[in-house]
């Protein structure tokens, strides 16, 4: 029968195994409560049109004030004009509203809605006889829809959606463009309006305007609106819609305009931020080589979403990850890990952590393509968010890698670097590091080199840090530290039955 010694060892292995479910790769950027400011580099959900039309005079002072009295009077005048039967007056009122809604600071969205103007504006959208009026109304509604969810809801509930979709086909490019924009704002509000738009047939209507002769500005808006139609989870946009849009998005991904590229990349990143079936649909289009190519671009606006897409894809199945590797992603990552922007470093480290969660063949490719040196650099010099991802990479690597691979990683200086990070002010990171240390010890056990590893850990000051963690307030951390100490650094260690 087994002795206590052996069986206990086995049981601890059993437990550790359990702590790291094979789903580590699934550690996505989940939808969750945020304390931080909304991220500046993310794709934009809604936009207000604050450009001014070429020959227009600057806003008169009365439009630029926060004085409630003045604004309320201005709105009363707008209401009067808009409700007037005279087209000239209507145009005038509508334009005045648009100007108010387009000013840089504190546009009175709520006041315009409460003045009951939306019904009229939506009505004006159908006035094919008066393109100017259509345009002004479309612009105003676009800007109202760019507000909060409540504002968007007002626009939708006034029946603007079918009207805008109809306007997409307008022969007047500026009107069609404004409709594209408004629909983008509505789609960006969330999954339910996005799906409502899709139900109304917005996709074919948009794609019909995607022609070689369309001007760049128009295409930018169109791409952005398409990206919003790909956006948001719970639920995801349905497969048929995705299938409809994908070929065009791929096409846009080859455009030369950076802003179009950026939004097309964001679209891909939304589509890949989901379960593996979602990722599959994207991979099947053969887009990977182009994405990898975009990783090499200079513009942050392109690199960020391209990298996010790649990161999502390598968080998928082993096969999907392999597809990304085969497309050359590993030769692009080292540069990004040394990118001047820490946000890029962080995303790159995240991608590496997901690849490191794969089978040992993929880990081998990380070694072959020279990713360990930049990874260790990030552990040493990255900012905290990057270090955190790099630590995950080490833990994933050490739990799936072969003994030789683990040894190689230690030789590259990763052990010393993570031991140093045991001072991090984040309990989770500390725990993940302790896991990695444990994995490295398991490898050392297989080689019979526990003593040597103990000495190494002690010499680089790691033992002190682990011992100190036995006082950590977080139970899981203190238990993990204690387990390491007891297993490898207590008296029993170093003894062999003779």
């Amino acid at each position: 029968m087994p002795t206590e010694n052996l069986s206990d060892k086995r049981m601890s292995k059993f437990k550790n195994k359990g702590k790291e479910p094979t789903k580590m790769r699934d550690r996505r950027i989940a939808e969750c409560v945020e304390l931080r400011k909304a991220h500046k580099v993310e794709g934009i959900m809604k936009r207000r049109n604050i450009s001014s039309v070429g020959d227009e005079e600057p806003l008169s002072p009365e439009y630029n004030t926060d004085n409630k009295q003045v604004i309320s009077e201005a709105i009363q005048e707008i209401v009067a004009n808009v409700n007037n039967e005279c087209p000239e007056k209507q145009r005038q009122g509508c334009q005045a509203a648009r100007k108010l809604l387009s000013r840089e600071r504190n546009p009175p969205l709520k006041e315009i809605v409460e003045a009951g103007l939306l019904t009229r504006f939506v009505e004006f959208l159908g006035r094919n006889d008066d393109p100017t009026l259509q345009f002004e109304a479309a612009w105003s509604l676009t800007n109202v829809a760019s507000g909060t969810s409540w504002h968007t809801q007002q626009v939708v509930e006034h029946g603007a959606v079918p009207a805008f979709i109809a306007l997409l086909a307008s022969p007047m490019l500026n009107i069609s463009e404004q409709a594209v924009w408004a629909l983008g704002n509505i789609a960006g509000d969330g999954p339910s309006y996005r799906d409502a738009l899709i139900d109304c047939g917005v996709i074919p209507a948009l794609l019909a305007r995607l022609t070689p002769d369309a001007p760049v500005g128009y295409l930018r808006n169109l791409t952005w609106t398409l990206s919003n139609l790909c956006r948001n989870k719970n639920p995801f946009p349905r497969f048929s819609a995705v299938q409809q849009m994908l070929p065009s998005i791929i096409q846009l991904l080859h455009h030369s305009d950076k802003s179009i590229l950026s939004d097309a990349c964001w679209a891909i990143s939304y589509l890949t931020d989901g379960p593996n079936e979602r990722i599959d649909v994207v991979i099947k289009t053969g887009v990977l080589p182009r994405l990898v190519e975009l990783l090499g671009f200079e513009e942050l606006a392109v690199v960020t979403p391209a990298l996010r897409s790649i990161g999502n894809i390598v968080s998928g199945s082993d096969l999907q990850t392999q597809a990304a590797i085969d497309a050359g992603v590993l030769s692009a990552l080292p540069l990004l890990m040394r990118h001047p922007k820490s946000s890029v470093q962080k995303e790159a480290a995240w991608a590496v952590s997901n690849i490191a969660a794969g089978p040992c063949q993929q880990i081998q490719q990380l070694i072959t393509c020279g990713l360990l040196a930049p990874l260790v650099d990030l552990l040493r010099n990255g900012d905290f968010k990057t270090q955190r991802e790099a630590v995950w990479a080490v833990t994933n690597y050490t739990s799936g890698g072969t003994v030789d691979q683990v040894v190689h990683l230690v030789k590259c200086g990763a052990l010393e670097a993570i031991l140093n990070l045991l001072q991090a002010k984040d309990a989770k990171t500390v725990l993940v590091i302790l896991d990695a240390i444990n994995n490295i010890f398991l490898a050392a056990e297989k080689l019979g080199e526990v003593d040597k590893l103990c000495l190494l850990v002690e010499e680089v000051g790691g033992l002190d840090r682990i011992e100190f963690l036995q006082n950590h307030e977080n139970n899981a951390v203190y238990r993990a530290a204690q387990a390491l100490i007891e297993k490898y650094f207590s008296e029993v260690a170093g003894y062999r039955c003779t």
């Binding site: 029968m1 087994p2 002795t3 206590e4 010694n5 052996l6 069986s7 206990d8 086995r10 049981m11 292995k13 059993f14 437990k15 195994k17 359990g18 702590k19 479910p21 969750c32 409560v33 945020e34 304390l35 931080r36 400011k37 820490s342 040493r380 010099n381 900012d383 905290f384 991090a424 002010k425 984040d426 309990a427 989770k428 725990l431 019979g448 003593d451 040597k452 000495l455 190494l456 002690e458 010499e459 680089v460 000051g461 033992l463 002190d464 840090r465 011992e467 100190f468 950590h472 307030e473 977080n474 899981a476 951390v477 008296e491 029993v492 170093g494 003894y495 062999r496 039955c497 003779t498």
Partner: protein, 971 residues
């Protein structure tokens, strides 16, 4: 319990009694209070007393009792009764904040603690108005009240500093930020303004500065998990004020006390922490402010004195610099040679000096000194912080920094040489610099031992360390001696073996030093040297090399245990253990004397076990004595029993809980050494081992199971013949263990020993019941661990009693049950069995089921025959399936009730792996081939036809391989 004067009076009397020094008065009163605390209104009575009692002592006592009551009872545990009635809960929450705020400080602190316990459970969902209630008090303008609120908030929010990110936690923080961040900021600004207004009023300042410190602590907690939007937007306000406060000094707030940190120091330390937090985690956003903080903190360090009261401030401040200087984009702040030199001179060197406080600790508080210096709990000390700073600086400026320090080292050594008696501290500082700063790791760049840029380690050893070690007056300059010993320990893997061997006898001599630190370090250094491994993984230092010093070593180690202050010195005892382990048979001649000393020590410490490590090594040393001596001559086991049993009996009789598990382990070791039958002295103890009370303690279970296994191995027949009436008791233990998810594997160990060793007749009548119990557990909670153990057990049973017996016992419980077990358990789960021996048992057992069980060939079980064979081939050929269902990961932890003495396993009492099948089967694959061959000759044609119809080609191919290897053919 009614809320009336009578009850208040009674309660007052009992509270009074709980303060009595006389246990005869105190204990019954405590018992009484415990017995009534379940009653409704009890907490309300306490609150009434702490508010209204005339007696100050009773008020405080009621507050403490209340807090402890809350601590024990507030939490609602699933499946357990709610221990506090809902009306009481509501009443407590409605009143406690106000009560806390209006109470004097002593009571306020207790209530504040109680609130944080309540808050931990109820906040925010079940206590929605707590935050607003607190925020409203900020308006009161009364800083006694405000500080109460701040202190409570601190105890509520400080967990944000160590908990894992979760949506639940972050939602709570978000809620707190929404309500609290703005008012806190306003309060911060207002408090700072008030400090200006009251700049000359010391009492007002004291209160205001405690508020500022608490506010700074809250800032730390609220900003810990991530940088909140609010604080990002208000960074200017906070950082500007923090910066000003760092540079502020006020004579009125300076304290006379040298030890206790004053308000200014506490506040500034916290601000350093806050700045370090931002620098580490929110680098990007904090960048514009950082240089200012570097300058301010740097100035602070240069102007702060050596007194102990500044320790926390100084170490936090240095840690801040340390964390900043190694970030690539702040490198330029430190680059200048003058800056580096002055950091080294003015910050690092002064903080590495041996201060008079260190000297006092060295002499009078050796234990604490050692813990701090040796075990890394010096994390908050100046020395440690200074070392970290040097390490940080070396990242980018290794050359210049090393240059500066080498200069220092030599100049300090020169100073020392001029007048050692006066300047010995200079040498201490020099050695400290070298031991903390010299690179200890053998990097490829540095080659093996030489070429350390700071100093040449070997030369330094020869020129400066050996002198002290060799000094004929062992007790002179104990600090330098301790330094020298520590040097050997620290650089043990860098120094060549000859130098270590030169040091060994010197270290042995230092074991006799009067200074506790010194002889402890000597013991520790020897212990470390003895664990070092050389070529072929043998110990670096061999017993032969130790031969000339063996006697001296053992003598000095044991003599040191007689030095006052070291009678339970764990380092000494560990060194004894390690020496035994290294020297092996060389210690045999000394054992007769030493065992007496060890048992005597054991007897002494068992009166009042207080040093767990010491005791552990003591038992390890006993085990080693036994193993080593009995390895040379088994017959000596009797003399050990003679020496140890009297003490063991006393330990067991007095139920010395800490020692009981150790005693069982040593007894197991002794019993296992016996070759013939079990001695009667053990049999006399047997009934006692089955007492349920012993099995209640978690820590006893593994060693007791092991001991019972030893009984079964050595004395199964004796038990069957002379103690058959104890068999139900033995099975009762099994039944209890099997019922627990945490201990079921222990139950199987026991059961397997019973099956393996007990004469079959003696347990016939119990067999069916055993199987029924196992089935009940399978039905009620089937875990992977249980299934694995179960599988090993049934296969062992099969090996021992035969396949037919196994099939019959199942089918006897319920018709067709055997088929179910094969189909639902063995076939799908056998791949999970782990361990060489376990796999072998299963392989042999399954082979028997396949080939020696007629029912498998002739009944409806036949359809299971090929799948079972396939599973067996899988067991041979496929990797182990170590997956576990998600809900089982932490079974053992959840199942362990509370904190009980953990099982302390003795390494040197370790047991060899036991293979019940042994040499009877060398290669289970060959056995399978031979058994199949035999089966096929008994019923020609059937086996090949079953194989060809349903065994997958791959499995068949493996099987062909086995048949070939066994040179048999199926017919």
């Amino acid at each position: 319990m009614e809320l009336n004067d009578g009850n208040l009076q009674t309660l007052t009397e009992y509270l009074q009694k709980t303060l009595s020094p006389d246990p005869a008065v105190r204990r019954p009163a405590e018992k009484f209070l415990e017995s009534v605390e379940g009653n409704q209104n009890y907490p309300i009575l306490l609150l009434t007393l702490l508010e209204k009692s005339q007696d100050e002592v009773i008020r405080v006592c009621a507050a403490v009792t209340f807090k402890n009551y809350i601590k024990r009872n507030w939490r609602i545990v699933e499946d357990e009764p709610n221990k506090i009635s809902d009306p009481d809960r509501t009443a407590i929450k409605a009143n406690i904040v106000n009560l806390m705020l209006t109470s004097p400080e002593q009571i306020q602190k207790q209530l504040s603690d109680a609130i944080s316990i309540l808050g931990r459970e109820d906040f925010p969902q079940k206590w929605p108005d707590l935050l607003t209630e607190m925020v409203n008090r900020f308006q009161s303008g009364d800083f006694h009240i405000i500080n109460g609120v701040l202190r409570t908030a601190h105890s509520l929010f400080k967990r944000y500093r160590h908990e894992f990110k979760s949506n639940e936690l972050w939602s709570e923080i978000k809620l707190v930020l929404d309500t609290f961040a703005q008012p806190l900021t306003e309060l911060f600004k207002a408090t700072i303004d008030l400090c200006q207004t009251h700049a000359t009023d010391v009492n007002a300042l004291k209160v205001l500065f405690s508020s500022l410190t608490l506010i700074s602590k809250l800032f730390y907690s609220l900003n810990f998990q991530d940088l909140p939007e609010f604080f990002e937007d208000n960074m200017e306000t906070w950082m500007t004020h923090f910066h000003n406060l760092l540079t502020l000094d006020n004579k009125l707030l300076q304290t006379e006390d040298e030890e206790e940190a004053g308000l200014l120091e506490l506040l500034k330390s916290q601000i350093c922490d806050n700045a370090a937090l931002y620098a580490q985690k929110y680098d990007e956003e904090f960048q514009p402010y950082l240089p200012r903080f570097v300058t301010a903190i740097w100035n602070l360090l240069v102007t702060t004195g050596q007194e102990v009261k500044y320790d926390l401030l100084v170490s936090n401040a240095i840690q801040f610099l340390a964390s900043v200087c190694e970030r690539p984009h702040y490198k330029h702040l430190f680059e200048d040679q003058n800056v580096l030199t002055s950091i080294c001179e003015k910050v690092i060197v002064p903080n590495m000096e041996f201060r008079s406080a260190d000297e006092e600790a060295f002499e009078d508080n050796a234990e604490e000194y050692i813990i701090r210096d040796l075990e890394g709990s010096d994390i908050d000390t100046r020395r440690r912080a200074a070392c970290d700073l040097v390490r940080g600086l070396c990242k980018f400026f290794e050359g210049p920094v090393t240059g500066i320090f080498s200069g220092y080292v030599s100049s300090m050594l020169t100073e020392y040489a001029k007048n050692p008696g006066v300047n010995w501290k200079h040498k201490d500082a020099a050695i400290y610099l070298v031991t903390s700063l010299a690179s200890k790791a053998q990097t490829q760049k540095h080659g093996i031992t030489q070429a350390n840029e700071l100093v040449n380690l070997c030369e330094f050893f020869v020129n400066h360390i050996l002198v002290d070690l060799k000094s004929p007056s062992v007790n002179e300059f104990p600090v330098l001696k301790a330094d020298a010993i520590k040097y050997v320990m620290t650089f043990r893997s860098q120094l060549p073996k000859e130098q270590l061997l030169e040091a060994v006898p010197l270290l042995v001599a230092h074991l006799q030093a009067e200074s506790i630190v010194q002889h402890t370090y000597a013991a520790h250094a020897l212990e470390r040297l003895f664990t070092m491994r050389g070529a072929n993984n043998a110990t670096l230092i061999t017993p032969a090399e130790m031969a000339p010093f063996t006697e001296q070593l053992l003598n000095n180690l044991f003599k040191a245990l007689a030095i006052p202050g070291s009678s339970e010195n764990e380092y000494m005892m560990k060194a004894i253990m390690r020496s035994f382990s290294l020297l092996q048979e060389a210690i045999v001649p000394y054992i007769p004397t030493l065992i007496g000393q060890l048992t005597h020590k054991l007897l002494l410490v068992s009166k009042n076990p207080s040093k767990p490590h010491f005791n552990h090594y003591l038992f390890e040393s006993l085990c080693l004595s036994i193993r080593i001596t009995c390895k040379a001559n088994r017959d000596t086991v009797g003399s050990f029993e003679e020496a140890l049993f009297p003490v063991f009996t006393e330990i067991l009789q007095n139920d010395v809980q800490e020692f009981v598990p150790y005693v069982f382990q040593v007894m197991s070791l002794l019993l296992e050494i016996h070759t013939s039958s079990i001695p009667s002295s053990y049999m006399a103890l047997f009934p006692h081992l089955l007492q349920p009370v012993l099995w209640e303690r978690t820590g006893n279970i593994p060693p007791l199971v092991r001991l019972l296994q030893a009984y079964l191995e050595k004395g199964a027949t004796t038990i069957a013949s002379t103690a058959a009436d104890k068999i139900p008791g033995l099975l009762g233990v099994f039944q209890k263990l099997i019922a627990s998810k945490a201990n079921d594997h222990q139950g199987f160990y026991l059961l397997n020993s019973i099956v393996e060793h007990m004469p079959p007749d003696s347990i016939t009548q119990y067999r069916k019941q055993i199987f029924i119990l196992l089935f009940q557990r399978l039905q009620s909670s089937k875990t992977t661990k249980f299934v694995k153990s179960f599988m090993v057990f049934i296969n062992l049973y099969c090996v021992k009693y035969g396949a037919i017996a196994l099939q019959e016992i199942f089918d006897d419980i319920q018709p067709k049950m055997f088929g179910m077990v094969v189909e639902k358990i063995i076939i799908p789960e056998v791949q999970k069995v782990s361990g060489q021996v376990e796999k072998k048992i299963c392989a042999v057992g399954i082979t028997k089921i396949l080939t020696e069980c007629p029912a498998m060939m002739d009944t409806e079980y036949t359809k299971l025959w090929t799948p079972l064979l396939q599973a067996l081939i899988g067991l041979f050929e496929l990797p182990e399936d170590d997956s576990i269902p998600d809900d089982e990961h932490f079974i053992d932890i959840e199942d362990t009730p509370g904190y009980q003495t953990a099982f302390s396993q003795l390494a040197f009492a370790g047991k060899k792996e036991h293979d019940p099948i042994g040499d009877a089967v060398n290669n289970p694959k060959i056995l399978l081939a031979q058994s199949l061959h035999k089966l096929s000759t008994a019923c020609p044609g059937r086996v090949p036809s079953m194989l060809s119809t349903s065994l997958p080609a791959e499995a068949l191919q493996f099987l062909q391989g086995y048949l070939q290897a066994a040179t048999v053919q199926l017919v």
